[in-house]
Amino acid sequence: MSLPDPEALVRTMAEAMRATIAPDAALVGIYTGGAWVADRLHRALALPTPLGLLAVTLHRDDFGRIGLHRESRRSQIPFPVDGREVILVDDVLHTGRTIRAALNELFDFGRPRAVRLAILADRGGRELPMCPDYLGAKVEVGRDEDLVLSNDNGKLRFAAVKRP
C-alpha cells in the first residue's frame, strides 16, 4: 500500500481545525516529527499565540528499561498554559504512550482549559485510551514496521521502516 503525502494531509487538517478551534488556541508540537507538523499548521492557521514545543523524555515510561537518552531539545512553552485551549500535535499515533508523556509534560507548565489531539497519521496499535480530535489519515503498516516521518530539505515524507 502506498503511503500518503504528509504535506497534503497537513492541508486537510488545517481546514478542519480552522472551523473549530478557539481563537486563543495554542498549538504544541511534540519533538521531532510533531514539531514539523505543528509548525506547518501554525503557519497555515496564522494563529496569534506562538508555537509551543514539547520534549517528552523526562516523562517516558520506559526510562527504567532504556535509561535517559542524551537530549539537547527542551520543551519551550512561550505562552501561559493556564486556562488556554491547547492542541497537541504529533506525526504518528501508535501505542499512545508518547501522548501520555506529553500530557504530563504539558501539565508541568500549568492547567490548560482543554487539550485536543491532532495527529497526522494513525497507524493503530493503541495501548492507552487515546483518540485524535483531528486526524490526517489512517495508515496501515506491518506490525514489525515503524511509520517514520522525515524532513528532506523542508519536504515531509513518510516511510515504513522495518524494526531492527
Partner: protein
C-alpha cells in the same frame, strides 16, 4: 580493579560516581548534556519529573555538610525519588557500628542509591565495591580525595559561560592541599582539554608533587591570575588546619584573597567561582563575591541540575 572500572560498567554505562579521575571526556560531556535538560525543570511551575519514582535514596553523611546534602536532597526530590537523610556521625558509628554494617543495614531497607560523605578518603569507593548489583553510590566528598559532583557542576558552569575548554586558562587558588574539590576539578579540566591549568597558593597549602597532575604552580597571586579566563577560589579549610600551616587568616587574605585589585590582572571577561561556603574577607573580598564577574550563585543552581543528571543516569540500571 581501577577506580574507573568500578564506576563504569562493561556496557559503558555509569554505575557509580566516585571520582572525576579517569572519567572519560565523553562520559563527562554526556553528564553535562543530560544536566542541560534538567536546568529547565527548575524554571517550571511544577519542578518535578517522575524519572526516579519509587526509588529510595539514602543521603548518608558521616561528616556534616548542610549545603551539599540539601542540593542532593532537592535533586532527588525533583526526580521524584524518596530521600532519607542520615547524619550517621551522630548515631550508629558512635555506637560502634562499622561503615559497611551501616551500609548493609540500609541496603536491607531496599536502598537503590547511596550518597556518601565521609572524612576518610576512599570511603565511597569501599562502599561501591560492597553494595549489591544495581545499587549505585555517589561520592559526595571523601576526605581530601574527591568531590566529583562539585567538580562536574564546575565544568557545567565553565562550559555555560565559556563554551569551549580548548583555549582556556584556568586558575585554582588557595588551599589546594586540603581540597578534594580542587582534585576533582583538576582531573576533569585536564580530561576536557584545558591547555593552561594553574594552581596558586602558599607552599604550605600545596600538595607535594602537584605538578604531576599537569598543572603550573604559582606562589604569587598576581602572576598566577594574569590572563585567566576562569578563577576558582577555594575555601580556606580552617577545620582541617592542624598545625601552623598559615600565619593568620588576615595574612592569607593579603597574599591570596581575591580582591578587585587582583582580579584586574585576569581577562576582563573572566568568571569568578567558589564552591562555597565562602569565607568573606579570607579567600574572597565581598565586592568580588557579589560582583558582575561572580558566578558563585549560578554554580549552586547548576549543581542541582548536574546532580539530577548523575542520579538519573545511575537510577536507570
Amino acid at each position: 580493579m581501577s577506580r574507573s572500572s568500578v564506576q563504569i560498567g562493561a556496557d559503558g554505562r555509569l554505575k557509580h560516581l566516585l571520582t572525576t579521575e579517569g572519567l572519560p571526556a565523553e562520559m563527562i560531556r554526556h553528564i553535562l548534556d543530560t544536566a542541560d535538560q534538567f536546568v529547565s525543570v527548575g524554571e517550571r511551575e511544577v519542578k518535578k519529573v517522575p524519572l526516579l519514582r519509587g526509588k529510595t535514596i539514602f543521603n548518608v553523611f558521616f561528616e556534616g555538610s548542610t549545603r551539599t546534602r540539601t542540593t542532593f536532597e532537592i535533586a532527588a526530590k525533583r526526580l521524584s525519588a524518596d530521600v532519607i537523610n542520615l547524619n550517621v556521625g551522630a548515631s550508629s558509628t558512635s555506637k560502634g557500628e562499622t561503615l559497611l554494617d551501616t551500609v548493609y543495614n540500609l541496603q536491607a531497607m531496599d536502598a537503590d542509591m547511596f550518597i556518601v560523605r565521609h572524612s576518610q578518603s576512599g570511603a565511597a569507593h569501599l562502599i561501591a565495591r560492597h553494595v549489591k548489583p544495581g545499587v549505585a553510590v555517589i561520592n559526595a566528598g571523601d576526605g581530601r580525595h574527591a568531590h566529583p559532583t562539585q567538580g562536574l557542576l564546575d565544568m557545567y558552569t565553565i562550559r555555560h559561560y565559556k563554551k569551549d575548554f580548548s583555549a582556556l586558562t584556568v586558575a585554582i587558588v588557595g588551599d589546594v592541599l586540603h581540597s578534594r574539590v580542587a582534585r576533582s576539578q583538576i582531573h576533569a579540566l585536564k580530561t576536557l582539554g584545558v591547555p593552561e591549568l594553574r594552581v596558586i597558593g602558599p607552599k604550605t597549602l600545596m600538595p607535594a608533587a602537584v605538578e604531576r597532575l599537569g598543572v603550573r604552580v604559582f606562589h604569587d597571586m598576581t602572576e598566577g591570575i594574569r590572563g585567566c579566563d576562569v578563577v576558582i577560589m577555594l575555601r580556606l579549610q580552617n577545620e582541617r588546619m592542624n598545625g601552623a600551616l598559615l600565619p593568620s587568616a588576615g595574612e592569607f587574605f593579603k597574599c591570596y584573597g581575591l580582591t578587585a585589585e587582583k582580579l584586574v590582572h585576569a581577562k576582563a571577561d573572566a568568571i569568578v567561582m567558589h564552591p562555597g561556603p565562602m569565607n568573606r574577607g579570607v579567600e574572597i573580598d565581598s565586592p568580588v563575591a557579589d560582583g558582575r564577574q561572580s558566578v558563585i550563585l549560578p554554580q549552586v543552581t547548576f549543581g542541582i541540575a548536574v546532580r539530577m543528571a548523575v542520579m538519573s543516569m545511575l537510577g536507570s540500571q
